[in-house]
Every structure is written in structure tokens, then in C-alpha cells.
Symmetry: C2
Subunit: 213 residues, 2 copies
DNA sequence: GCAACAATGTGATAACTCTCACAGGATCGT
DNA sequence: ACGATCCTGTGAGAGTTATCACATTGTTGC
């Protein structure tokens, strides 16, 4: 399985992620095989869109039959690189950080939480998972370097996000996911995604305002 | 000037939301006036993109000068409908729900938390904010109806998301923001946004995998 | 009052993404 | 073995979004 070297839409990648969820559900509902139509129904994407998305990466179905749900899930995980074991850290163990740490998601998608950091002295030393205790943020650079952590998740307040990002970068992080409500800046080499949870609410407000008129 | 709004890209709406954040920061940094270049630098969007985005809604700047940061922030909030006072509820007061409730964001963007619900009996009755206590999910329909709640935020586990959505809809909710890792289905009339936090992580994994090759 | 300048607003164009329709290939029944 | 049927994979085209270049218009200095 090798990618054709055309550029792949970002939206496609986003959808692939949701396909995994839907395929899991379909399996749980006893569907060893599915069609692009059934999968589309399940995750609210058009069948043609699904086939197109998959076609960027190869051929995963059987014509006249459909897709093996379990196999397809594995293929998509392969495509997204979720079969790696990404050493990951969470910085900022507030409510949002804890919410993320709670998700069963991490292990299922190949992310291994190696460390967690916070600046609150009361939290330091607390165990957040099997063998992972909260460290002070002063330890970020050293720990990232020693443990070869590749992914950093920033769930701090806005005013410390950039500082934390700098420390992670100094430690040699490869990818950053920033949930703080401010866009952080890092060197070109770092893969960065700024996620704005709240903008979804703004978006909803806009759509509702439109509908009224 | 077109009479009926031509279709505005969803991406534009998303960016407008981030412009608000950046404009606030610029104001905090003592910039009463900014240019599309400075604002673009601040929120990592091209100057042309910013001007185009704004042009969908009117003319907000002064040629040769730029934009009044405070005024523009107000204009964008007006466009997004954040000057309304949206009666809002959060269903599922787990870590993610609590994280959202903690954000100062709500009041600043015109969302007023009217009620919160959870199915955990130990949480029911707890006060989460000035005068808002957690109610059992059995009260959803009645409360939404009585309080005329228009926006519902779902932060439950996947397996109760659809059930909760149905109750909110039964109560007459207008817009739904679903953070549960499963797409819920609601009647056409309801404005719905399914948000997948975890897909951002998958996306990051993909980008990192690509970079390696 | 006017020229030089600065930064917006926008039509034209390029780039990207989705949709459609159907060809390709597998399976099933007879 | 063969036709009917099914569902995938994909090129072509429609539709959407971003970029570019510059005309436009307000400001400033002399």
C-alpha cells in the first residue's frame, strides 16, 4: 500500500478519523462487512465522498461486496499513523487536560501518555494514570528530551501557552496540539495544530442568527 | 451591495471567531488601531484573506489607516450574533463539561448558562456557578421548555449522547453542539455541530507520519 | 491645496474540494 | 458458464474557497 503522491485534502484526513469511530460502531453492531452507503449513513458523509477519500490511498473494498469493517479500520489507522506508539505528554492538568486524559481514546489510537505537567504545586506528584505523576513545568525540557516525547498537548490557560510551547520545542518535541485559546508560534519544523473549541460555539451562534432572518 | 447574502464560506466564520481573540490581544497590547497585515501576523492568516473575509459583511476599515481594534471586535461579534444573550445548557458535567463551564468565554461571547444536567446522582444538586445547580437528565425536556433554552452543549459519553440530544430536541432546543465522540442525529430544523476533539490528534499523527517519509 | 503615501476593498484568477455518472470487477443463481 | 446484480473506484466537471494585483480612498506633510 503506497500513496499516490498527489496532495490529499485536509478535510479527507479529518473524515478518515471519523470513519474509524463509525467502523468501530458498525463492528459492535455485528456488521463484519459494510458498504460506502451504510458507512456514509452511519457517519453522515456521502457514499461518493467516502470512496473518493479512500481512493487517495489505495483500494480497500471488494466490488460488488463492500468493505471488511475490521480490516478497513486497520487500514485507516495505518494511513493515519496510529499504529505507531506516539510518546505523548499533556501540559496543563486542568479540567480540559483531565478530560483528555480520561478518554480511552489515547491508547486505542496509539498515543502513550508518558508524562503530564502543571505549574500548580498542589497538583504536582498526583498520579493521573498507571505510573504517570504530574511534574512541574520546569521539568518539561529535560523530560521531553530524556523520554523522547514526540507529541505535546497544551491545555494550559492562554497566558502560559506560548511559554509552554517554547519549552516543549526546546526539549525536541515533534508535534504540538494547542487547545489554549491563543495561537502559539513555533519553528517551521514543528508540526502544529491550534484547536479552538470555543470557535465552534461562535459558529453555532452565527448559524442560529442566520436562521432567524 | 447584494440584497440577499451570497453564501459565506464556513471557513470564514471560523476565522472571524479567531479574529476576535486576536483583536482582544492587540487591544491588551495597546494597539487602538491595526492593519490587516498586523492582524494577520497575530492570528496567522494572510492579510488578503482577512480583508476578503470582512468584505463579505461590509467595510470596517479606513483606507490608508487600518482598523479600529475595539470597533472591529464589536462588529465581528455583531456579525456572529454574539451580542444576543443565548440561553445555554450543558449536559454532562464530567471533566470536559466542567472545563467548558470554567471558561470565561461564555459570558464574554453572549452565552448565558441557564442549567446543567448530569445522570450521576452524586453530582445532582451541586452548584456549578452563581445560582446554577446540576439537575437530573430527566428534567431536561421540561427545563429547556420552561427556560426557553436555545443552545445545548452535549458533553456526555458516547452512549448517552443520542438520548440526551433527543430530550433537548423534545424540549424545543434550537442549536446543538455535540462533543461526544459519536455523531448524533436530529431533525433538519435543529442547527447541529458535531465536534470531534480527538480527530485533531489523529490529524497530528498523520502529519507527523507524512513528515517522516 | 496638492502630491506622496498607506492600507483597504474587490474583481479576476488560480487552486482546491466535492459530486456525479459510469466503467470495472466480484459474486450469485440458474 | 453466463447473465443479472451489486458496489467499488475514478475521471470529468461543477462548485467552492483562497490568492493576487490593483484601483480606490483616506491621511499626512509641506
Amino acid at each position: 500500500m503506497k500513496t499516490k503522491e498527489s496532495k490529499i485534502p485536509e478535510a479527507t484526513i479529518k473524515r478518515l478519523s471519523t470513519y474509524i469511530n463509525c467502523l468501530e460502531r458498525l463492528q459492535a453492531e455485528n456488521n463484519p462487512v459494510t458498504s460506502s452507503e451504510m458507512l456514509g449513513e452511519s457517519c453522515q458523509v456521502s457514499p461518493a465522498q467516502i470512496r473518493k477519500d479512500l481512493s487517495y490511498f489505495g483500494e480497500f473494498g471488494v466490488r460488488g461486496v463492500g468493505y471488511d469493517t475490521k480490516k478497513l479500520e486497520g487500514e485507516i489507522k495505518e494511513i493515519l499513523g496510529l499504529n505507531h506508539n506516539w510518546p505523548t505528554t499533556v501540559v496543563g492538568v486542568g479540567k480540559l487536560g483531565q478530560a483528555l486524559l480520561n478518554f480511552a481514546f489515547f491508547s486505542k489510537h496509539g498515543f502513550r501518555i508518558i508524562a503530564a505537567f502543571d505549574s500548580d504545586e498542589n497538583k504536582i506528584g498526583n498520579e493521573i494514570a498507571h505510573g504517570v505523576t504530574i511534574l512541574p513545568t520546569t521539568e518539561i525540557e529535560k523530560t521531553v528530551k530524556n523520554e523522547k516525547i514526540t507529541i505535546g498537548i497544551i491545555t494550559t490557560p492562554a497566558d502560559s501557552a506560548q511559554e509552554v510551547a517554547d519549552k516543549l520545542v526546546a526539549g525536541g518535541i515533534k508535534g504540538l496540539l494547542n487547545f489554549a485559546p491563543i495561537k502559539v508560534k513555533v519553528p517551521e519544523i514543528i508540526t502544529l495544530r491550534n484547536v479552538s473549541i470555543t470557535s465552534e460555539l461562535d459558529n453555532l451562534a452565527y448559524l442560529l442568527t442566520q436562521k432567524k432572518r
